[in-house]
Symmetry: C2
Protein backbone atom coordinates (compact mmCIF):
# COMPACT_ATOMS: atom_id res chain seq x y z
CA UNK A 1 0.00 0.00 0.00
CA UNK A 2 0.99 3.62 -0.60
CA UNK A 3 0.95 6.18 2.21
CA UNK A 4 1.13 9.97 2.05
CA UNK A 5 2.30 12.03 5.03
CA UNK A 6 1.91 15.80 4.68
CA UNK A 7 4.33 17.66 6.91
CA UNK A 8 6.47 14.56 6.45
CA UNK A 9 9.66 16.56 6.92
CA UNK A 10 8.60 17.83 10.32
CA UNK A 11 8.98 16.40 13.78
CA UNK A 12 5.76 14.38 13.93
CA UNK A 13 5.76 13.44 10.25
CA UNK A 14 9.29 12.08 10.18
CA UNK A 15 8.74 10.24 13.43
CA UNK A 16 5.51 8.72 12.08
CA UNK A 17 7.37 7.69 8.92
CA UNK A 18 10.05 5.91 10.98
CA UNK A 19 7.41 4.15 13.05
CA UNK A 20 5.55 2.98 9.93
CA UNK A 21 8.74 1.74 8.25
CA UNK A 22 9.69 -0.15 11.41
CA UNK A 23 6.24 -1.80 11.47
CA UNK A 24 6.33 -2.50 7.73
CA UNK A 25 2.54 -2.77 7.68
CA UNK A 26 -0.51 -0.57 8.21
CA UNK A 27 -4.05 -1.80 8.62
CA UNK A 28 -2.90 -5.35 7.79
CA UNK A 29 -1.24 -4.37 4.51
CA UNK A 30 2.45 -4.22 3.63
CA UNK A 31 3.73 -0.69 3.03
CA UNK A 32 5.17 -0.40 -0.49
CA UNK A 33 5.70 3.36 -0.66
CA UNK A 34 5.77 6.27 1.74
CA UNK A 35 5.48 9.73 0.20
CA UNK A 36 6.53 12.56 2.49
CA UNK A 37 5.28 15.99 1.39
CA UNK A 38 6.81 19.08 2.96
CA UNK A 39 8.19 22.52 2.18
CA UNK A 40 11.66 21.22 3.03
CA UNK A 41 13.54 18.21 4.37
CA UNK A 42 16.55 18.15 6.69
CA UNK A 43 18.08 15.06 4.96
CA UNK A 44 17.67 12.65 2.03
CA UNK A 45 15.53 9.52 2.43
CA UNK A 46 17.38 6.56 3.94
CA UNK A 47 14.83 3.90 2.97
CA UNK A 48 14.02 2.79 -0.58
CA UNK A 49 10.31 2.86 0.21
CA UNK A 50 10.45 6.58 1.02
CA UNK A 51 9.91 9.40 -1.50
CA UNK A 52 10.40 13.07 -0.59
CA UNK A 53 8.21 15.60 -2.39
CA UNK A 54 9.19 19.20 -1.77
CA UNK A 55 6.09 21.30 -2.44
CA UNK A 56 3.86 23.97 -0.96
CA UNK A 57 0.69 22.28 0.25
CA UNK A 58 -1.32 25.39 -0.64
CA UNK A 59 -0.18 25.22 -4.29
CA UNK A 60 -2.99 23.28 -5.97
CA UNK A 61 -0.99 22.40 -9.08
CA UNK A 62 2.03 21.25 -7.12
CA UNK A 63 -0.19 19.23 -4.83
CA UNK A 64 -1.99 17.58 -7.74
CA UNK A 65 1.20 16.70 -9.59
CA UNK A 66 3.26 16.02 -6.50
CA UNK A 67 2.07 12.42 -6.30
CA UNK A 68 0.86 10.76 -3.18
CA UNK A 69 -2.78 11.58 -3.88
CA UNK A 70 -3.16 8.01 -5.20
CA UNK A 71 -2.31 6.82 -1.70
CA UNK A 72 -4.76 4.63 0.18
CA UNK A 73 -3.65 6.17 3.47
CA UNK A 74 -3.06 9.83 4.19
CA UNK A 75 -1.76 11.42 7.37
CA UNK A 76 -2.35 15.17 7.14
CA UNK A 77 0.05 16.77 9.61
CA UNK A 78 1.29 19.79 7.65
CA UNK A 79 0.60 23.04 9.49
CA UNK A 80 1.94 26.42 10.44
CA UNK A 81 2.24 26.29 14.24
CA UNK A 82 0.12 28.39 16.59
CA UNK A 83 2.49 31.26 17.32
CA UNK A 84 3.39 31.65 13.64
CA UNK A 85 -0.24 31.50 12.47
CA UNK A 86 -1.11 34.21 14.98
CA UNK A 87 1.82 36.43 13.96
CA UNK A 88 1.31 35.92 10.19
CA UNK A 89 -2.43 35.63 9.59
CA UNK A 90 -2.12 35.15 5.82
CA UNK A 91 0.43 32.38 6.19
CA UNK A 92 -1.80 30.45 8.62
CA UNK A 93 -4.88 30.89 6.43
CA UNK A 94 -2.96 29.76 3.37
CA UNK A 95 -1.27 26.68 4.79
CA UNK A 96 -3.67 25.55 7.51
CA UNK A 97 -7.00 26.34 5.83
CA UNK A 98 -6.29 26.47 2.10
CA UNK A 99 -3.75 23.65 2.31
CA UNK A 100 -6.29 21.37 3.98
CA UNK A 101 -9.09 22.30 1.57
CA UNK A 102 -6.87 21.78 -1.49
CA UNK A 103 -5.52 18.46 -0.20
CA UNK A 104 -9.04 17.13 0.42
CA UNK A 105 -10.21 18.33 -3.01
CA UNK A 106 -7.19 16.65 -4.65
CA UNK A 107 -7.89 13.39 -2.79
CA UNK A 108 -11.56 13.61 -3.78
CA UNK A 109 -10.66 14.02 -7.47
CA UNK A 110 -8.85 10.67 -7.35
CA UNK A 111 -12.15 9.06 -6.41
CA UNK A 112 -10.79 6.25 -4.23
CA UNK A 113 -11.91 7.59 -0.85
CA UNK A 114 -8.60 7.23 1.00
CA UNK A 115 -8.49 6.90 4.75
CA UNK A 116 -7.29 10.29 6.08
CA UNK A 117 -6.00 10.97 9.60
CA UNK A 118 -5.92 14.70 10.42
CA UNK A 119 -3.90 16.18 13.27
CA UNK A 120 -6.16 18.74 14.90
CA UNK A 121 -5.38 20.37 18.22
CA UNK A 122 -6.50 21.15 21.72
CA UNK A 123 -6.20 24.77 20.51
CA UNK A 124 -9.69 24.18 19.08
CA UNK A 125 -10.91 25.14 22.56
CA UNK A 126 -10.69 28.47 24.27
CA UNK A 127 -12.56 31.34 25.85
CA UNK A 128 -14.83 30.64 28.78
CA UNK A 129 -14.42 26.93 29.42
CA UNK A 130 -15.82 24.47 31.94
CA UNK A 131 -13.37 23.25 34.62
CA UNK A 132 -13.30 19.87 32.85
CA UNK A 133 -13.98 19.65 29.12
CA UNK A 134 -15.66 16.64 27.58
CA UNK A 135 -16.77 15.25 24.23
CA UNK A 136 -19.72 17.67 24.05
CA UNK A 137 -17.74 20.88 24.65
CA UNK A 138 -18.14 23.27 21.71
CA UNK A 139 -14.87 24.46 20.14
CA UNK A 140 -14.47 28.23 20.53
CA UNK A 141 -10.86 28.76 19.50
CA UNK A 142 -9.10 31.94 20.61
CA UNK A 143 -6.33 31.76 18.04
CA UNK A 144 -6.22 31.68 14.26
CA UNK A 145 -4.40 28.35 14.45
CA UNK A 146 -7.24 26.86 16.52
CA UNK A 147 -9.82 28.32 14.15
CA UNK A 148 -8.06 26.83 11.14
CA UNK A 149 -7.84 23.44 12.84
CA UNK A 150 -11.57 23.44 13.68
CA UNK A 151 -12.39 24.35 10.09
CA UNK A 152 -10.20 21.44 8.99
CA UNK A 153 -12.22 19.13 11.26
CA UNK A 154 -15.50 20.27 9.69
CA UNK A 155 -14.07 19.70 6.21
CA UNK A 156 -12.83 16.23 7.21
CA UNK A 157 -16.32 15.44 8.56
CA UNK A 158 -18.19 16.67 5.49
CA UNK A 159 -15.85 15.02 2.97
CA UNK A 160 -16.29 11.78 4.98
CA UNK A 161 -20.08 12.13 5.10
CA UNK A 162 -20.11 12.56 1.33
CA UNK A 163 -17.92 9.44 0.95
CA UNK A 164 -15.05 11.34 -0.68
CA UNK A 165 -12.65 10.26 2.07
CA UNK A 166 -12.79 8.12 5.22
CA UNK A 167 -11.57 10.77 7.63
CA UNK A 168 -10.53 10.81 11.28
CA UNK A 169 -9.53 13.99 13.13
CA UNK A 170 -7.61 13.86 16.42
CA UNK A 171 -7.39 16.82 18.77
CA UNK A 172 -3.80 16.46 19.95
CA UNK A 173 -2.82 17.66 23.41
CA UNK A 174 0.38 19.71 23.70
CA UNK A 175 3.21 17.36 22.74
CA UNK A 176 5.82 16.99 25.48
CA UNK A 177 8.77 16.41 25.12
CA UNK A 178 9.49 17.59 21.57
CA UNK A 179 13.16 17.03 20.68
CA UNK A 180 15.26 19.54 18.77
CA UNK A 181 15.07 23.28 19.05
CA UNK A 182 12.37 25.67 20.29
CA UNK A 183 9.83 26.58 17.59
CA UNK A 184 7.25 29.31 17.00
CA UNK A 185 4.45 27.35 18.69
CA UNK A 186 3.14 29.16 21.76
CA UNK A 187 3.46 25.80 23.51
CA UNK A 188 7.16 25.51 22.71
CA UNK A 189 8.11 26.19 26.35
CA UNK A 190 6.29 23.06 27.56
CA UNK A 191 8.97 20.90 25.95
CA UNK A 192 11.75 23.43 26.42
CA UNK A 193 11.59 23.37 30.21
CA UNK A 194 12.43 19.64 30.13
CA UNK A 195 14.59 19.38 27.02
CA UNK A 196 17.00 22.29 27.52
CA UNK A 197 17.89 21.46 31.16
CA UNK A 198 18.46 17.80 30.21
CA UNK A 199 20.80 18.99 27.45
CA UNK A 200 22.65 21.16 29.95
CA UNK A 201 21.25 24.35 28.41
CA UNK A 202 19.65 27.16 30.44
CA UNK A 203 16.00 27.82 29.60
CA UNK A 204 13.57 30.69 30.15
CA UNK A 205 9.97 29.79 30.97
CA UNK A 206 7.51 32.42 29.63
CA UNK A 207 4.55 31.33 31.79
CA UNK A 208 3.89 31.11 35.53
CA UNK A 209 4.64 27.89 37.50
CA UNK A 210 0.92 27.29 38.16
CA UNK A 211 0.13 27.24 34.41
CA UNK A 212 -1.57 23.94 33.62
CA UNK A 213 -0.86 21.94 30.47
CA UNK A 214 -2.81 19.12 28.83
CA UNK A 215 -0.04 16.98 27.39
CA UNK A 216 0.84 13.76 25.60
CA UNK A 217 4.22 12.27 24.71
CA UNK A 218 5.40 12.01 21.08
CA UNK A 219 5.33 8.20 21.38
CA UNK A 220 1.65 8.20 22.39
CA UNK A 221 0.78 10.70 19.65
CA UNK A 222 2.36 8.46 16.98
CA UNK A 223 0.54 5.45 18.44
CA UNK A 224 -2.70 7.46 18.34
CA UNK A 225 -2.24 8.46 14.68
CA UNK A 226 -1.71 4.82 13.69
CA UNK A 227 -4.53 3.57 15.92
CA UNK A 228 -6.89 6.21 14.47
CA UNK A 229 -6.05 4.89 11.01
CA UNK A 230 -6.51 1.24 11.90
CA UNK A 231 -9.92 1.61 13.57
CA UNK A 232 -12.68 0.48 11.19
CA UNK A 233 -15.03 3.14 9.79
CA UNK A 234 -17.94 1.80 11.84
CA UNK A 235 -16.01 2.55 15.06
CA UNK A 236 -16.07 6.22 14.05
CA UNK A 237 -19.61 6.27 12.70
CA UNK A 238 -20.88 9.72 11.81
CA UNK A 239 -18.58 11.56 14.24
CA UNK A 240 -15.09 11.87 12.82
CA UNK A 241 -13.49 14.07 15.49
CA UNK A 242 -12.15 13.01 18.89
CA UNK A 243 -10.35 14.61 21.84
CA UNK A 244 -7.29 12.45 22.51
CA UNK A 245 -6.56 11.40 26.09
CA UNK A 246 -3.72 13.20 27.84
CA UNK A 247 -2.46 14.08 31.29
CA UNK A 248 -2.78 17.35 33.17
CA UNK A 249 0.33 18.87 34.74
CA UNK A 250 1.35 22.34 35.82
CA UNK A 251 4.74 23.77 34.90
CA UNK A 252 5.69 23.40 38.57
CA UNK A 253 4.70 19.71 38.52
CA UNK A 254 6.72 19.12 35.36
CA UNK A 255 9.79 20.70 36.96
CA UNK A 256 9.26 18.66 40.16
CA UNK A 257 9.15 15.48 38.04
CA UNK A 258 12.29 16.61 36.19
CA UNK A 259 14.03 17.12 39.53
CA UNK A 260 13.04 13.61 40.69
CA UNK A 261 14.25 12.04 37.45
CA UNK A 262 17.36 14.11 36.71
CA UNK A 263 18.27 15.92 39.91
CA UNK A 264 17.91 19.42 41.35
CA UNK A 265 20.83 20.84 39.40
CA UNK A 266 19.14 20.01 36.10
CA UNK A 267 15.73 21.38 37.13
CA UNK A 268 17.37 24.61 38.31
CA UNK A 269 18.42 25.45 34.74
CA UNK A 270 14.91 26.87 34.21
CA UNK A 271 14.51 30.61 34.87
CA UNK A 272 11.23 32.53 34.93
CA UNK A 273 10.78 35.17 32.27
CA UNK A 274 7.08 36.00 31.83
CA UNK A 275 6.01 36.73 28.21
CA UNK A 276 2.62 38.43 28.03
CA UNK A 277 2.00 37.36 24.42
CA UNK A 278 2.61 33.65 25.14
CA UNK A 279 0.71 33.84 28.46
CA UNK A 280 -2.27 35.37 26.67
CA UNK A 281 -2.43 32.51 24.15
CA UNK A 282 -1.71 29.67 26.58
CA UNK A 283 -4.19 30.79 29.24
CA UNK A 284 -7.04 30.28 26.72
CA UNK A 285 -6.12 26.60 26.31
CA UNK A 286 -7.96 23.91 28.20
CA UNK A 287 -6.20 21.98 30.94
CA UNK A 288 -8.53 19.15 32.02
CA UNK A 289 -10.59 16.74 29.90
CA UNK A 290 -12.85 13.75 30.32
CA UNK A 291 -12.06 11.83 27.10
CA UNK A 292 -14.60 9.00 27.32
CA UNK A 293 -15.03 8.46 23.61
CA UNK A 294 -11.30 8.28 22.94
CA UNK A 295 -10.77 5.80 25.77
CA UNK A 296 -13.69 3.71 24.45
CA UNK A 297 -12.03 3.77 21.03
CA UNK A 298 -8.81 2.44 22.59
CA UNK A 299 -6.62 5.57 22.62
CA UNK A 300 -4.20 5.78 25.56
CA UNK A 301 -2.49 8.52 27.55
CA UNK A 302 0.91 8.37 29.27
CA UNK A 303 0.73 7.12 32.88
CA UNK A 304 2.44 10.23 34.39
CA UNK A 305 4.87 13.09 33.75
CA UNK A 306 7.89 11.16 35.06
CA UNK A 307 7.38 8.44 32.46
CA UNK A 308 7.07 11.11 29.76
CA UNK A 309 10.45 12.52 30.83
CA UNK A 310 12.03 9.05 31.12
CA UNK A 311 10.77 8.19 27.59
CA UNK A 312 12.48 11.29 26.24
CA UNK A 313 15.74 10.50 28.02
CA UNK A 314 15.74 6.94 26.67
CA UNK A 315 14.81 7.94 23.09
CA UNK A 316 17.41 10.69 22.91
CA UNK A 317 20.02 8.52 24.67
CA UNK A 318 20.72 11.29 27.17
CA UNK A 319 23.27 10.44 29.87
CA UNK A 320 22.26 11.74 33.28
Amino acid sequence: MKILITGGGGFLGSRLARALLARGRLGGEAISKLTLLDAGFPAKPEDLRVEHVQADIADADALEKAAGTDSAAVFHLAAVVSGAAEADFDLGMRVNLEGTRLLLQALRQRGRAPRVVFASSVAAFGGELPEVLDDSTTPRPQSSYGTQKVIGEYLISDFSRKGYIDGRALRLPTIVVRPGRPNAAASSFASGIVREPLNGVPCECPVAPETGIWLLSPRRVIEALIHAYELPPQAWGGDRVVNLPGITATVAEILAALKRVAGAKTAQRVAWKPDARIQAIVKTWPVRFRTERALDLGFEADPDVESVIRDYIAEERIKL
Copy 2:
Protein backbone atom coordinates in the same frame (compact mmCIF):
# COMPACT_ATOMS: atom_id res chain seq x y z
CA MET B 1 -22.73 55.71 5.22
CA LYS B 2 -22.12 53.04 2.59
CA ILE B 3 -23.63 49.58 2.91
CA LEU B 4 -22.79 46.39 1.01
CA ILE B 5 -25.29 43.54 0.73
CA THR B 6 -23.96 40.33 -0.82
CA GLY B 7 -26.75 38.26 -2.30
CA GLY B 8 -28.45 41.62 -2.76
CA GLY B 9 -30.37 40.36 -5.78
CA GLY B 10 -31.95 37.52 -3.84
CA PHE B 11 -35.06 37.32 -1.72
CA LEU B 12 -33.57 38.31 1.64
CA GLY B 13 -31.05 40.75 0.19
CA SER B 14 -33.53 42.74 -1.86
CA ARG B 15 -35.99 42.78 1.00
CA LEU B 16 -33.29 43.98 3.38
CA ALA B 17 -32.36 46.69 0.86
CA ARG B 18 -35.97 47.92 0.71
CA ALA B 19 -36.20 47.95 4.50
CA LEU B 20 -32.96 49.93 4.83
CA LEU B 21 -34.02 52.45 2.17
CA ALA B 22 -37.36 52.92 3.90
CA ARG B 23 -35.58 53.55 7.20
CA GLY B 24 -33.02 55.84 5.58
CA ARG B 25 -30.63 55.25 8.47
CA LEU B 26 -28.61 52.45 10.02
CA GLY B 27 -26.93 52.56 13.39
CA GLY B 28 -27.84 56.25 13.70
CA GLU B 29 -26.23 57.22 10.37
CA ALA B 30 -27.89 58.30 7.13
CA ILE B 31 -27.51 55.77 4.32
CA SER B 32 -25.75 57.39 1.34
CA LYS B 33 -25.14 54.33 -0.80
CA LEU B 34 -26.32 50.75 -0.93
CA THR B 35 -24.24 48.37 -3.04
CA LEU B 36 -25.98 45.13 -3.91
CA LEU B 37 -23.64 42.38 -5.07
CA ASP B 38 -25.08 39.31 -6.78
CA ALA B 39 -24.63 36.95 -9.71
CA GLY B 40 -27.76 38.46 -11.26
CA PHE B 41 -30.60 40.90 -10.66
CA PRO B 42 -34.25 40.57 -11.68
CA ALA B 43 -34.61 44.35 -12.32
CA LYS B 44 -32.71 47.66 -12.44
CA PRO B 45 -32.31 49.73 -9.26
CA GLU B 46 -35.26 52.04 -8.54
CA ASP B 47 -33.50 54.22 -5.97
CA LEU B 48 -30.59 56.59 -6.68
CA ARG B 49 -28.82 55.38 -3.56
CA VAL B 50 -28.69 51.82 -4.92
CA GLU B 51 -25.88 50.37 -7.04
CA HIS B 52 -26.06 46.88 -8.55
CA VAL B 53 -22.78 45.01 -8.98
CA GLN B 54 -23.07 41.82 -10.97
CA ALA B 55 -20.14 39.62 -9.95
CA ASP B 56 -19.22 36.18 -8.74
CA ILE B 57 -18.48 36.41 -5.04
CA ALA B 58 -15.88 33.65 -5.37
CA ASP B 59 -13.94 35.66 -7.98
CA ALA B 60 -11.32 37.48 -5.88
CA ASP B 61 -10.46 40.06 -8.54
CA ALA B 62 -14.09 40.86 -9.29
CA LEU B 63 -14.83 41.12 -5.59
CA GLU B 64 -11.89 43.43 -5.00
CA LYS B 65 -12.77 45.72 -7.90
CA ALA B 66 -16.51 45.38 -7.56
CA ALA B 67 -16.70 48.14 -4.98
CA GLY B 68 -18.59 47.93 -1.78
CA THR B 69 -15.57 46.77 0.19
CA ASP B 70 -15.13 50.36 1.39
CA SER B 71 -18.53 50.04 3.07
CA ALA B 72 -18.82 50.58 6.80
CA ALA B 73 -21.64 48.04 6.97
CA VAL B 74 -21.75 44.66 5.26
CA PHE B 75 -24.58 42.15 5.20
CA HIS B 76 -23.21 38.88 3.85
CA LEU B 77 -26.21 36.90 2.62
CA ALA B 78 -24.89 35.42 -0.65
CA ALA B 79 -25.11 31.64 -0.64
CA VAL B 80 -25.94 28.57 -2.65
CA VAL B 81 -28.97 27.07 -0.90
CA SER B 82 -28.91 23.73 0.92
CA GLY B 83 -30.32 21.42 -1.75
CA ALA B 84 -28.08 22.92 -4.44
CA ALA B 85 -24.94 22.78 -2.27
CA GLU B 86 -25.66 19.11 -1.56
CA ALA B 87 -26.28 18.28 -5.23
CA ASP B 88 -23.27 20.28 -6.51
CA PHE B 89 -20.51 19.98 -3.92
CA ASP B 90 -18.02 22.14 -5.84
CA LEU B 91 -20.53 24.95 -6.31
CA GLY B 92 -21.32 25.05 -2.59
CA MET B 93 -17.66 24.97 -1.61
CA ARG B 94 -16.85 27.73 -4.08
CA VAL B 95 -19.65 30.15 -3.24
CA ASN B 96 -20.38 29.38 0.40
CA LEU B 97 -16.87 28.72 1.69
CA GLU B 98 -14.51 30.41 -0.77
CA GLY B 99 -16.89 33.35 -1.31
CA THR B 100 -17.01 34.03 2.43
CA ARG B 101 -13.26 33.67 2.88
CA LEU B 102 -12.51 35.97 -0.07
CA LEU B 103 -15.04 38.58 1.05
CA LEU B 104 -13.56 38.69 4.55
CA GLN B 105 -10.02 38.91 3.16
CA ALA B 106 -11.08 41.76 0.84
CA LEU B 107 -12.72 43.61 3.74
CA ARG B 108 -9.62 43.07 5.85
CA GLN B 109 -7.36 44.52 3.16
CA ARG B 110 -9.34 47.79 3.37
CA GLY B 111 -8.30 48.03 6.99
CA ARG B 112 -11.37 49.83 8.32
CA ALA B 113 -12.88 46.92 10.27
CA PRO B 114 -16.43 47.14 8.91
CA ARG B 115 -19.34 45.77 10.87
CA VAL B 116 -20.36 42.50 9.15
CA VAL B 117 -23.64 40.63 9.67
CA PHE B 118 -23.48 37.06 8.36
CA ALA B 119 -26.56 34.94 7.66
CA SER B 120 -25.78 31.49 9.02
CA SER B 121 -28.37 28.77 9.38
CA VAL B 122 -30.08 26.30 11.64
CA ALA B 123 -28.60 23.76 9.18
CA ALA B 124 -25.44 24.15 11.31
CA PHE B 125 -27.04 21.51 13.54
CA GLY B 126 -27.71 17.90 12.76
CA GLY B 127 -27.07 14.29 13.67
CA GLU B 128 -27.94 13.10 17.14
CA LEU B 129 -29.50 16.13 18.80
CA PRO B 130 -30.99 16.83 22.20
CA GLU B 131 -34.81 17.23 22.30
CA VAL B 132 -34.29 20.97 22.84
CA LEU B 133 -31.13 22.67 21.55
CA ASP B 134 -29.58 25.60 23.38
CA ASP B 135 -26.69 28.04 23.12
CA SER B 136 -24.16 25.39 24.15
CA THR B 137 -25.17 22.77 21.55
CA THR B 138 -22.22 21.92 19.30
CA PRO B 139 -22.88 22.29 15.56
CA ARG B 140 -22.57 18.93 13.79
CA PRO B 141 -24.01 19.71 10.36
CA GLN B 142 -25.26 16.84 8.22
CA SER B 143 -25.15 18.75 4.95
CA SER B 144 -22.42 20.52 2.98
CA TYR B 145 -24.45 23.73 3.22
CA GLY B 146 -24.52 23.48 7.01
CA THR B 147 -20.79 22.71 7.09
CA GLN B 148 -20.01 25.72 4.92
CA LYS B 149 -22.15 27.97 7.13
CA VAL B 150 -20.41 26.78 10.31
CA ILE B 151 -17.03 27.39 8.71
CA GLY B 152 -18.24 30.90 7.82
CA GLU B 153 -19.14 31.45 11.49
CA TYR B 154 -15.65 30.43 12.62
CA LEU B 155 -14.10 32.78 10.06
CA ILE B 156 -16.39 35.63 11.19
CA SER B 157 -15.34 34.96 14.80
CA ASP B 158 -11.61 34.84 14.10
CA PHE B 159 -11.59 37.90 11.83
CA SER B 160 -13.49 39.72 14.61
CA ARG B 161 -11.10 38.54 17.31
CA LYS B 162 -8.20 39.84 15.24
CA GLY B 163 -9.98 43.19 14.83
CA TYR B 164 -10.19 42.89 11.02
CA ILE B 165 -13.99 43.13 11.12
CA ASP B 166 -16.69 43.57 13.76
CA GLY B 167 -18.68 40.47 12.88
CA ARG B 168 -22.03 39.03 13.95
CA ALA B 169 -23.36 35.67 12.73
CA LEU B 170 -27.04 34.74 13.02
CA ARG B 171 -28.28 31.18 12.73
CA LEU B 172 -31.51 31.74 10.82
CA PRO B 173 -34.44 29.38 11.30
CA THR B 174 -36.23 28.18 8.17
CA ILE B 175 -37.83 31.26 6.62
CA VAL B 176 -41.61 30.93 6.24
CA VAL B 177 -43.34 32.23 4.11
CA ARG B 178 -40.89 32.95 1.28
CA PRO B 179 -42.67 34.63 -1.63
CA GLY B 180 -42.06 33.74 -5.26
CA ARG B 181 -41.33 30.33 -6.63
CA PRO B 182 -40.02 27.12 -5.08
CA ASN B 183 -36.20 26.97 -4.97
CA ALA B 184 -33.53 24.29 -4.57
CA ALA B 185 -33.44 24.63 -0.79
CA ALA B 186 -34.47 21.41 0.93
CA SER B 187 -36.72 23.64 3.07
CA SER B 188 -38.55 25.05 0.06
CA PHE B 189 -41.71 23.07 0.89
CA ALA B 190 -42.10 24.84 4.23
CA SER B 191 -43.10 28.02 2.40
CA GLY B 192 -44.66 26.22 -0.55
CA ILE B 193 -47.38 24.55 1.52
CA VAL B 194 -48.67 28.00 2.51
CA ARG B 195 -47.78 30.08 -0.54
CA GLU B 196 -49.05 27.85 -3.36
CA PRO B 197 -52.49 27.16 -1.81
CA LEU B 198 -52.96 30.90 -1.10
CA ASN B 199 -52.13 31.58 -4.75
CA GLY B 200 -54.68 28.98 -5.82
CA VAL B 201 -51.96 26.60 -6.97
CA PRO B 202 -51.84 22.91 -6.00
CA CYS B 203 -48.76 21.91 -4.02
CA GLU B 204 -47.00 18.65 -3.22
CA CYS B 205 -45.52 18.29 0.25
CA PRO B 206 -42.39 16.06 0.23
CA VAL B 207 -42.33 15.40 4.00
CA ALA B 208 -44.74 13.77 6.46
CA PRO B 209 -47.38 15.86 8.34
CA GLU B 210 -45.63 15.28 11.69
CA THR B 211 -42.37 16.81 10.41
CA GLY B 212 -41.41 19.65 12.73
CA ILE B 213 -39.97 22.95 11.51
CA TRP B 214 -38.12 25.70 13.38
CA LEU B 215 -39.29 28.82 11.55
CA LEU B 216 -39.24 32.59 11.42
CA SER B 217 -41.05 35.03 9.13
CA PRO B 218 -39.16 37.13 6.56
CA ARG B 219 -40.17 40.28 8.44
CA ARG B 220 -38.59 39.04 11.68
CA VAL B 221 -35.46 37.89 9.83
CA ILE B 222 -34.96 41.35 8.32
CA GLU B 223 -35.53 42.94 11.73
CA ALA B 224 -32.97 40.52 13.20
CA LEU B 225 -30.34 41.37 10.56
CA ILE B 226 -30.74 45.09 11.29
CA HIS B 227 -30.86 44.57 15.07
CA ALA B 228 -27.71 42.41 14.90
CA TYR B 229 -25.99 45.27 13.12
CA GLU B 230 -27.13 47.95 15.53
CA LEU B 231 -26.13 46.14 18.73
CA PRO B 232 -22.86 47.58 20.07
CA PRO B 233 -19.74 45.37 19.93
CA GLN B 234 -19.71 44.97 23.71
CA ALA B 235 -23.17 43.32 23.58
CA TRP B 236 -21.57 40.56 21.49
CA GLY B 237 -18.31 40.36 23.41
CA GLY B 238 -16.09 37.47 22.37
CA ASP B 239 -18.95 35.30 21.07
CA ARG B 240 -20.04 36.42 17.62
CA VAL B 241 -22.57 33.67 16.81
CA VAL B 242 -26.16 33.38 18.00
CA ASN B 243 -29.14 31.08 17.45
CA LEU B 244 -32.06 33.32 16.47
CA PRO B 245 -35.41 32.80 18.21
CA GLY B 246 -38.13 31.11 16.18
CA ILE B 247 -41.28 29.06 16.59
CA THR B 248 -41.76 25.32 16.33
CA ALA B 249 -44.57 23.98 14.15
CA THR B 250 -45.26 20.71 12.39
CA VAL B 251 -46.40 20.62 8.79
CA ALA B 252 -49.83 19.53 10.08
CA GLU B 253 -49.95 22.56 12.44
CA ILE B 254 -49.03 24.90 9.61
CA LEU B 255 -51.81 23.48 7.45
CA ALA B 256 -54.28 23.73 10.35
CA ALA B 257 -53.35 27.41 10.77
CA LEU B 258 -53.73 27.93 7.02
CA LYS B 259 -57.20 26.38 7.21
CA ARG B 260 -58.19 28.70 10.07
CA VAL B 261 -56.88 31.77 8.24
CA ALA B 262 -57.88 30.98 4.65
CA GLY B 263 -60.42 28.17 4.79
CA ALA B 264 -60.50 24.43 4.23
CA LYS B 265 -60.62 24.68 0.46
CA THR B 266 -57.27 26.51 0.41
CA ALA B 267 -55.58 24.11 2.83
CA GLN B 268 -56.78 21.13 0.78
CA ARG B 269 -54.63 22.22 -2.16
CA VAL B 270 -51.69 20.46 -0.47
CA ALA B 271 -51.13 16.83 -1.49
CA TRP B 272 -48.67 14.41 0.11
CA LYS B 273 -45.84 13.20 -2.07
CA PRO B 274 -42.97 11.87 0.07
CA ASP B 275 -39.47 12.59 -1.29
CA ALA B 276 -36.80 10.46 0.38
CA ARG B 277 -33.97 12.86 -0.51
CA ILE B 278 -35.71 15.90 1.04
CA GLN B 279 -36.90 13.86 4.05
CA ALA B 280 -33.34 12.67 4.67
CA ILE B 281 -32.00 16.23 4.78
CA VAL B 282 -34.87 17.78 6.73
CA LYS B 283 -35.01 15.08 9.40
CA THR B 284 -31.45 16.02 10.47
CA TRP B 285 -32.55 19.61 11.23
CA PRO B 286 -33.35 20.69 14.74
CA VAL B 287 -36.93 21.55 15.68
CA ARG B 288 -36.85 23.01 19.20
CA PHE B 289 -34.51 25.59 20.74
CA ARG B 290 -34.02 27.49 23.96
CA THR B 291 -32.56 30.77 22.60
CA GLU B 292 -31.73 32.57 25.83
CA ARG B 293 -28.82 34.61 24.53
CA ALA B 294 -30.74 35.88 21.49
CA LEU B 295 -33.71 36.89 23.65
CA ASP B 296 -31.33 38.65 26.08
CA LEU B 297 -29.84 40.49 23.10
CA GLY B 298 -33.33 41.66 22.10
CA PHE B 299 -34.06 39.41 19.10
CA GLU B 300 -37.73 38.44 18.70
CA ALA B 301 -39.71 35.56 17.21
CA ASP B 302 -43.17 35.67 15.62
CA PRO B 303 -45.99 35.11 18.12
CA ASP B 304 -47.51 32.12 16.25
CA VAL B 305 -47.96 30.45 12.85
CA GLU B 306 -51.27 32.21 12.14
CA SER B 307 -49.63 35.62 12.40
CA VAL B 308 -46.85 34.42 10.08
CA ILE B 309 -49.47 33.46 7.49
CA ARG B 310 -51.45 36.71 8.00
CA ASP B 311 -48.23 38.74 7.54
CA TYR B 312 -47.63 37.02 4.23
CA ILE B 313 -51.19 37.61 3.05
CA ALA B 314 -50.96 41.31 3.96
CA GLU B 315 -47.52 41.82 2.39
CA GLU B 316 -48.43 40.09 -0.85
CA ARG B 317 -51.86 41.75 -0.91
CA ILE B 318 -53.55 38.39 -1.39
CA LYS B 319 -57.37 38.49 -1.52
CA LEU B 320 -58.93 35.63 0.39
